[in-house]
Structure formats: C-alpha cells, structure tokens
Symmetry: C2
Subunit: 441 residues, 2 copies
C-alpha cells in the first residue's frame, strides 16, 4: 500500500501540550510497553503492523520535520510544503513526491488520510481495501464513509446511492445542524473522515492541467506561486465517478481534550495524584511540579511550560479561542539536535535548559544583541567559541559575548543551563556559519 | 495594650503556597491599595490602627524570623522558641520576654491570640476590652467567646454561667459531634477561638512554680529541658476564676482553602484566566506559567514551585493528609537577605534563582561536596571568593569549587542564577565563616 499521511496544523485545541512548534500529533500520550507514544507514532506503528512494506509519505510543513525525524524511523518519506497553500497543492506535491522521489508508478493507487484519528488495526485494513478499490479503476476517487456513532454537527456527510459495502456517492453535505444530521443519518448518510484513494496518474493529470506541471521539483520550487485551491474544489466537486466504502470500526477524532482523554488508557501521566473523590479526571503533567487533584469531576488538567489548563471536559472544545487570546511565545521546543525549555524569564534575561542528543550539535552561530553563558549540568562534549575548541563536562562554564561564534557538540547526552542576557532577546537574533563537525569531533 | 500573637505551625493545609519554610500566615493573598498583604501583615496593620501604641510580641519558631522581619516593621518584638515544647512553655517564654525585654510591668495585662483568624477592626476593640477586664482583676483569666455562626465540630466550646456580656465560665467542651454542638449552642455556648488575657504576674508565678524560674534568659537557655505541658493543663483546668467576654463580630478561621478563598476580595491572583462558565472559582498562581480554567465550579486552583492544587472547595479541608504523603523538599524560601526558588532539578545538579535585597548579603560560607556557578542576571554588587573581591553586574560569571569560601553583597537588587553541581546536594552541606561586611562594601 502507498499512503500519504496529512500532518498539519499547530493545534491550539490541545493547549498547553500543543503549541506553535509542537503540534498535537507529537504529544506522547498513549501508553505502550516501554513508555508513551504520540498519535503519529501510534498510527505509523499500526500501519507497519498491518502492511510492513507500505510506502509511507508524510505531507507536512517545515516546522514538523524535527519532530517527525525524532519520533519515526528513517523509512518514512517526508513531503515538505515550503509554505501554506491549501489542500490541493499539498496533495499534488505529495503525490508528485511519491512518483518522482519514491518511484511509485502512475498506475499505482495511493490512500490519503489525516494523521490524527484514534483508530484500531481494522482501520488500516480498510485503508488497504480503499487502495485496492482505487487500483481496480471503477471510479476515479474512493472515499471512506464512517458509520456515524451519533448525529454530529462537527463532520461533513457523504450520501451513498445504495447501502452496499461499496456504493457510488450521490451527494455531499457540509457540517449540518442537528436536525439535518439526524435526517441524513436516517437516510443512510456516512461521516466524511477525510480519507480517500486514487491512482497517482489521476491527481498528477489534474495538477498538470491546473499548474502546468506535475514534476515534484517544479511544484516544490514554484510552490509559493501555486493557486490556493482546495482538494474539494479542484477534484471532488468536478468528479462524477466517486465511490464510498463503509467503515464501521472505531474512529475517534482527537480534536479536543474531551476526545483525547477518552482514548487514554490511564488517568495520570506525569507527576500527579488524585484523591478518591475525583471522578472521570485525567491529568497530564509535563512540569517538574507535582499536581494534586481533590474532589473534582469530569475535568482534564494538563500542564506544560506553556501553561496549566483546568477544564471541564465538555467545555474543553472551546479552548482554541481562549488560547489565541494569549500571544505567548512557546516555552518548549523539540529540535533535530535535542530540546530546550525556558526555566526562568526576566526583563533582559532568559534562562533555558538545553538537552543535546549524543553525537549531535547545534549550528555554528552568533547573536548580535545578547551575551550567553553555558553551565554544563551533565554529560561530555566539546565547545567551539570563535574557533577555539574546548572539551567540557559537568561544572564547566563557557561565556560568549554578543558577536562571538559558538557551537557545542555532544559526546554523550549533554545538558546545559543557558543564560541569555541582552536588551533584545529574540529567536530572530541569530547568524549561522558553516563549519565541519567531522573536523572537530 | 500588650499583645502576644501566636504564630505557629507549618501549615500543610494551604499547600502548595504554604510549606515547611513558609507558613500560611505569610502568604500574600489579601488585596490592598498597593498590592497584596499576608495574614500576619493584615492583622498587624489592624492592631496598629486600633491601638497605635500597642506592644506587640510574636511568639514563633526560628524558621519564621526572616519572614516576620521581611513583612513587619522593626517595632515588633519576637519571642523565639528554641525548639517545640507545647503551649505553656511558649506562652510563659513570651510573657517573660514581655516583662524582661520589653519592660512591661507584672501588674499589666496581656492578650494572647492566634495570628491567623480573618477578622475586622471590631475584633481588636474586643481584645482591648479583654485586656482591660484582666487588668481589673475580677478573674485571673479572661477568655473571648465567639458567638457561633453554626454548629461546628471543628471548635471547642465555652459554657458561660449567664448570658451577660461578661460572665463566669461554668464549663468547657472539646470538639463535639454535631448533635452535641447543636445542644451546647441552644444552651448559650460560645466558640473558643483561643484568645485570652491575664496579668503578667499570673503566668510568671505559674512558670516559677512549674519550672523554678520566670526569667526570660533562664527559660530560653533551658527551653529544651522544660516539660511539654499545654496551657490548658497547666492553667485553665486548675483555675476557678475564669471569665468569658462575648464577641459577635466577624471571625473566620483561615484553616483551609475553603475559608481562605471566602476571605479573598478577588477571584484571581497572579497570571490566570477563567471563562464565563466558571462559577465560584479562585485561582492563586505564583508560577510564571499561565493558568486557564474553563467551566469548573466551586474549585480552588493554587500553584507555586512546590506544586499545583486543583480542589473542590469542600474537599480542600482534607488536604493535609495528601500533602504529608509527599515528602518533597520546599522549592521556594524567603530568607532574611531575599529569596530563592528551584528552577530546575537534575541528578547531581540543582539550578536555583536567587534574589538578594539591595544592601543585603549572604553568609560567608563554603560547601564541601558541591561546586557552584553564579550567573548575574540583573543588578550590581560584589562577590568575595576566598578573600578576593570582585565587582559584578549582569552577565558576569563566578565559579566556586567545593571548599572555596564565598559570599555576595548586593548594591542594588541582585538576581543570580545559581547552578549547584555535586554528588550530594543538601542544605546541610554548609560551613559558615565570620567576615565584616562593612569592610567589604
């Protein structure tokens, strides 16, 4: 099977664990035998289990590359959107990537699905069936129709012509009100979970027609000039030959704390306690500070360096607007080389904790407007400051004045406390320089 | 008026804002014109307003001295218990302090009251009346009897002989069950708020009889050998001439989050937001991380570097046992010279933020088992390291190996990030040395 996983969005809906840098699909929240895994890890693992030879491409933005590399193995393809253009350019680019880079033939089928529903293995069996049906060529586009659990106002509906397992689609209905949703369901309508399959040639031909090219290199280099058009507008609305395949297995859209906590197998992740008077409470604590919950009911408590949320579970679906009201910079970020976390913020001074993975290193860089001090907390490695190399271990202190070039290379996992001092501390104050890490190891 | 304020207890009942180092009476929680004040500040201010010439002595333990000095003016006397011995030794010591140190005559009366009820100015008028009645000499001990608001099982009851404003006491009842409480109240019983007045001579004579001395110096130096006996056992149970004076004003015992939040004039202190679906919610946030509450009701949320509490208000009275279940070291402390807060904890490494008040300084000290690094975040001052003096300002770094003597003197308010590195980091690893700060300024 060939599959494109759509990994989008910044995800304010799961604040404070998701932020502008870390999207919800990368939060490690699902219990496994050896710890926790994220939505993206869970889905990738399930996919590999159902089809070990599956060609997986993740369509995503630049900001997620580090997280994907950190969380998945090297067999995953990544189609990076250089900027945001809407769904058709993104899907066309990923399809071209599959053809030009992964070498998948135009007559092969691909299944496109979002990375964030909470599903079981039968979902991936259904994806396979979707791909096989697309390959068969009875229709140009095959959709998955999810048997509705209840009349939801949150989803789009697919109206099939018949109640056969595979049916031609007669109509689509966008997010309806409750009464309409009930009516559609009584007439056999299915939820549209945004899952579909097609032959590569089909979408590449449309790309050729709209953009004048279906070459990955061309699409990528001209991406910021491509028309912002949706997949619905470019493809679905113009296509008569669409089929839908019914899916009756578990499918939970993890779009809010309410649905996410339903999918959690335990009530507490992190340092927390609750008393016996608590009912239906979930706590996810990424802070070093312990949480104690007493006598609260139907509540989710979630804490990270970005904030602390205490919300009635039903109310949590209104989270986005409140979080947007705060324009706070992300206090935690995962990087290709490790991670950092703000541990103290003062006027003209920021203190951060930096963890660098064994063998990894930062860019060689300088800042124009701030001095920095590193105190090595644990681990071993080497710093280069204005060309001077120095071996470092716990207790060592490195001072860097504004303008001085610096990097650090971790021999073992290296933890630093970094104190930044300056009138203007921003992520934009950074100049990068070329250097050969091989020559320095 | 002469008054002894009993400032005891570590106060796990208001965790995480109170801890082993900071008792609940020092939490700044009551809104004033220019910020917030603590219970102790509020009570001291009220006392001075009602009686500007009042002689105030606070009976307390060593660990509270810094907080008292930081929060109150220099006119307050402090009688420090060298160790814990129960209530009679503590009251005898404070009474001897009043006589020997403050120069109050033995024929004068003193009023003893706990530092933590939430009251209005009329309470202090009532204290004056209590003192005047003691001075009059009709009885040896004058108690305040609080008109009960409801049949509480939490308080002791005083049974007066008559319903006159001043009456002889006929009996005491310890914390009764609900039915008994109702019965006592119907018979005219009053709450015992632990407030009483006597002439100094009365208690000093009893001390002389029990301990063989009523001298402050003697009591202080022999304190750890004094019998552990309660004031009730030593005095109240043996005394026939006890009067009670009724008090009908506001009196709230701030012993739990439930009662404390009732006394707060606003719902949010610190960086927090709540949505319009929240009802009867109080948030006190001492962390830099914002709190968002959505759709919760009758809940108190309280956060400090020690922990995060989310509790149903009625449940919060059971807090103590849960907090005792955690034996976590205090992560924040107020010191005579400023304050410190743990901002990161690793195996073999602790990072703390230190704030030193202008003109103040640490002890000259060394550690046997850890190295330390100071990074100056803001302010100006001077360090002395193994006798070497150095002027410091933002961005300066001072490294101190284990064994090296060091201190820092703040010229302006000085903020440091201190990284401690060693196999065994404890508060006990500290040697102090004499030095003259005057010579070093």
């Amino acid at each position: 099977m060939n599959i494109i996983l759509l990994s989008g969005g910044s995800g304010k809906r799961l604040w404070p664990l998701s932020n502008d840098i870390r999207s919800k699909q990368f939060i490690k929240i699902f219990k496994t035998e050896n710890g926790y895994e994220s939505m993206v890890q869970r889905m990738y693992g399930q996919l590999r289990r159902v089809d070990a030879d599956c060609t997986v491409t993740i369509a995503t933005s630049k900001s997620q590359i580090s997280s994907i590399h950190n969380q998945l193995d090297e067999n995953v393809g990544i189609s990076v959107e250089p900027c945001r253009r809407d769904t058709f350019p993104a899907i066309a680019l990923a399809t071209a990537y599959l053809h030009d880079i992964q070498g998948v033939s135009k007559s092969e089928a691909v299944v496109v699905c979002p990375v964030d529903p909470y599903v079981k293995d039968d979902y991936f069996e259904a994806l396979k069936t979707l791909g096989e049906q697309a390959k068969r060529g009875e229709a140009n586009l095959i959709l998955m129709g999810i048997e509705p659990g209840y009349p939801s106002e949150k989803y789009g509906y697919i109206i099939p012509e018949t109640d056969e397992p595979v049916s031609k689609v007669s109509d689509f209905k966008e997010k309806p009100d409750l009464a309409s949703a009930e009516k559609y369901i009584s007439e056999g309508a299915l939820w549209n979970g945004g899952v579909f399959a097609y032959k590569l040639k089909y979408v590449l031909d449309i790309a050729e027609r709209i953009f004048g090219t279906s070459s990955y290199t061309q699409l990528y280099s001209r991406y910021d000039t491509l028309d912002k058009i949706s997949f619905d507008y470019a493809v679905v609305e113009k296509e008569d030959m669409i089929q839908v395949i019914r899916f009756a297995g578990q499918w939970v859209d993890i779009g809010s704390w309410n649905t996410l906590t339903e999918a959690m197998s335990e009530n507490i992740i992190g340092d927390a306690m609750m008393d016996e008077a608590c009912e239906n409470v979930h706590i996810i604590n990424e802070l070093d500070v312990p949480i104690l919950a007493m006598g609260v009911k139907n509540v989710v408590i979630s804490a990270s360096p970005d904030g602390i949320l205490v919300s009635d579970k039903d109310r949590s679906c209104y989270l986005k607007e409140y979080v947007e009201a705060r324009d706070r910079e992300a206090m935690f970020a995962e990087k290709s080389w490790g991670s950092f976390r703000v541990i103290d913020a003062e006027k003209d001074c920021l203190t951060i904790k930096v963890v660098i993975k064994p063998g990894d290193y930062m860019n060689y860089h300088s800042h124009d407007f701030r001095d920095e001090v590193w105190v090595v907390v644990s681990g071993r490695g080497k710093t280069i400051v204005d060309g001077m190399e120095q071996y470092i271990s716990a207790g060592d202190v490195i001072t860097m004045k504004a303008g001085c070039r610096h990097t650090v290379i971790a021999k073992t996992e290296l933890k630093l406390v970094e104190v930044q001092i300056g009138k203007e501390i921003t992520v934009h104050d950074k100049r990068k320089y070329a250097f050969s890490v091989e020559a320095c190891r």
